[in-house]
């Protein structure tokens, strides 16, 4: 996986928890799923420095995409 994680990438990473199909992944992200997602993201992109406010924003798939974009995850430079 290269480049910025897209929405579909986030959904795919969330789907690996519980071996779900992408369409079974809800828009909201529970706290357990967030821990799972963080682990998946850090496996692919390395350790991230995410603060409490960012975790709050990552309560939805849309929010997660935005936070990772703000952190320039997978971006150039």
């Amino acid at each position: 996986m290269s480049g910025e994680p897209q929405r579909s990438d986030i959904v795919a990473m969330l789907a690996t928890y519980g071996e779900r199909r992408p369409e079974q992944v809800p828009e909201t992200i529970s706290s357990l799923e967030l821990a799972w997602l963080l682990h998946q993201i850090e496996q692919r992109y390395g350790e991230l420095d995410i603060d409490d406010d960012m975790f709050v924003r990552m309560s939805t798939v849309t929010g997660a995409v935005e936070v990772l974009r703000d952190l320039n995850v997978g971006g150039s430079g």
Binding site: Y17, G18, R20, Q24, P26, E27, T28, S30, S31, L32, L34, A35, W36, L38, H39, Q40, E42, Q43, E47, D52, F55, V56, M58, S59
Partner: protein, 475 residues
């Protein structure tokens, strides 16, 4: 009704059973070590505040606090005063908390005026709000009150007295494989629910096992907490934590890690194997209920998937349901022989008991309760909450990998309005993760709502709204 099965314990039980030990012994670690002497000081301080708010022997207090030193100190202070503590999960919405308080009617309510609680934080720093409430003294001599899934409507008030708690703590001391004095528990389980409360906090305090809560409930955060100390360490959590830790491809070696124990549903076989291989430790299982605490265990994984009843408890099977011995009904306000009768509690778990070995195998749930991340949620209560919302003509709630709801809406009702109401009335972990708006809820020939997920999935959506709003949205 006062507790007749157990001797009434004087408040000194807190000092004798939970707080005794060397002053300099570390008993907790929430970001920093806390010695017994320091915990006693904190408890004494909280006693003074609670007494100032009017709490006395036989009084009642509701605690609505995140995992924190504050929660622990207030709970022990309440018991040291000889009052009754009702535990409310801090994730409940204000609506749910108000509903619970109106049922429980405590004299004092302790909640967090400010806290550092945030997603994935294991514990918080709390500034408490202590206020009086228009309740009265405890109606019974029970020490702790908890509400079953759901804090309003048909949820049950579950009560345990101090004697019952002490008996459970002593039961733990006799189970082979529990952590021993001088060791550590890294506790990932909620301390407001029985696994973390008794299996973690109360047993740890009694047995001289230091209880650590990781600062961050991430894979890294948990493993850092394990590796931070060389003392023999047990992890206590729920199956999700096993899945998370098993997904770490090359975890560090932890010679101090003696094993992990989970409560709740059984871990899947492939996850069990991956975890035990990667960490080189045993993975144990604990089966219990809020009403009783620990019922049966398999801490070495020798009997997987079966569990052995804890010392002093009996488990039997009747008409496919597991019953556990309990001298008195744990419920306040209801007399339901379908729940407890003649010294036996109905678990509502299907199962069987091997008459030769006594091993218990749990086969599934007989009612509508599901486990969401280790927390019990009754789908019937979620469904009733949805079905009674203004604008909802009907609702069916099902559970597959997550809680989902199928809704029939009154004409002109916006789904967003329903979503807002759900956010007010249900804590996050109880909310449907997906909402499907359908034109008609399918019914059987006799008119009953169909709950078959395949049938529901194939039910047609509602006709498109005039403004083109979506009829199928994630919750």
């Amino acid at each position: 009704m006062t507790g007749g099965a157990y001797p009434r314990l004087e408040p000194e039980w807190v000092d004798e059973v939970l707080l005794s030990g060397a002053d300099d012994q570390e008993c907790l670690h929430l970001g920093e070590p806390i010695t017994r002497a320091r915990l006693r000081e904190l408890v004494t301080e909280r006693q003074s505040v609670l007494s100032g708010a009017g709490l006395r022997l036989g009084g009642s207090v509701a605690l609505c606090l995140p995992p924190s030193v504050s929660f622990i100190a207030n709970l022990l202070a309440t018991w040291r005063i000889g009052a009754q503590a009702s535990l409310l999960d801090h994730r409940l919405t204000p609506y749910e908390v108000n509903g619970a308080l109106q049922r429980l009617l405590p004299q004092v309510v302790v909640s967090a005026e400010r806290s550092t609680a945030a997603p994935l934080r294991g514990f918080a720093e709390v500034t408490e709000s202590v206020r009086t409430y228009q309740g009265g003294p405890a109606g019974t001599s029970h020490a702790v009150i908890q509400l079953s899934s759901g804090s309003t409507g048909p949820s049950k008030i579950i009560a345990r007295d101090a004697g019952n708690l002490v008996e459970e703590i002593q039961r733990y001391t006799q189970i082979d494989g529990v952590p021993r004095a001088g060791e550590r528990i890294v506790c990932l389980a909620s301390m407001v629910h029985v696994l973390g409360l008794v299996g973690g906090l109360l047993y740890g305090l009694h047995a001289g096992v230091s209880l650590t809560i990781p600062a961050r409930m991430t894979a890294d955060g948990i493993l850092s907490a394990v590796g931070a100390d060389a003392r023999p360490t047990t992890l206590l959590g729920v199956p999700f934590h096993i899945e998370l830790l098993a997904a770490v491809p090359e975890p560090p070696k932890f010679p101090q890690l003696t094993g992990m124990t989970t409560g709740g549903e059984l871990v899947r076989g492939d996850v069990y194997t991956t975890f035990t291989d990667r960490y080189g430790v045993r993975l144990g299982n604990m089966y219990g209920m809020t009403e009783v605490g620990v019922i049966a265990t398999d801490l070495f994984g020798r009997n997987r998937p079966a569990v052995l009843p804890a010392p002093g408890l009996s488990v039997r099977e009747e008409a496919g349901e597991l019953l556990v011995s309990l001298p008195e009904s744990p419920y306040i306000g209801i007399k339901d022989p379908g729940r407890w009768s003649d010294g036996w509690l109905h678990t509502k778990d299907a199962g069987r008991v091997d008459s030769r070995t006594g091993l218990v195998t749990i086969l599934g749930r007989l009612d509508s309760q599901v486990s969401v991340g280790g927390l019990k949620v009754d789908l019937t209560e979620v469904e009733q909450t949805l079905a009674t919302l203004p604008g909802v003509a009907g609702a069916v709630v099902v559970h597959d990998s997550a809680i989902e709801a199928y809704l029939m809406l009154d004409g002109g009702t916006e789904l967003s309005a329903i979503e807002s109401q759900i956010t007010v009335r249900l804590a996050g972990y109880k909310r449907p993760r997906m909402l499907h708006v359908v034109g008609q809820l399918p019914r059987t020939a006799t008119g009953k709502l169909v709950r078959d997920r395949a049938v529901l999935r194939s039910t047609g959506p509602a006709a498109p709204a005039a403004n083109g709003a979506e009829s199928d949205r994630p919750g």
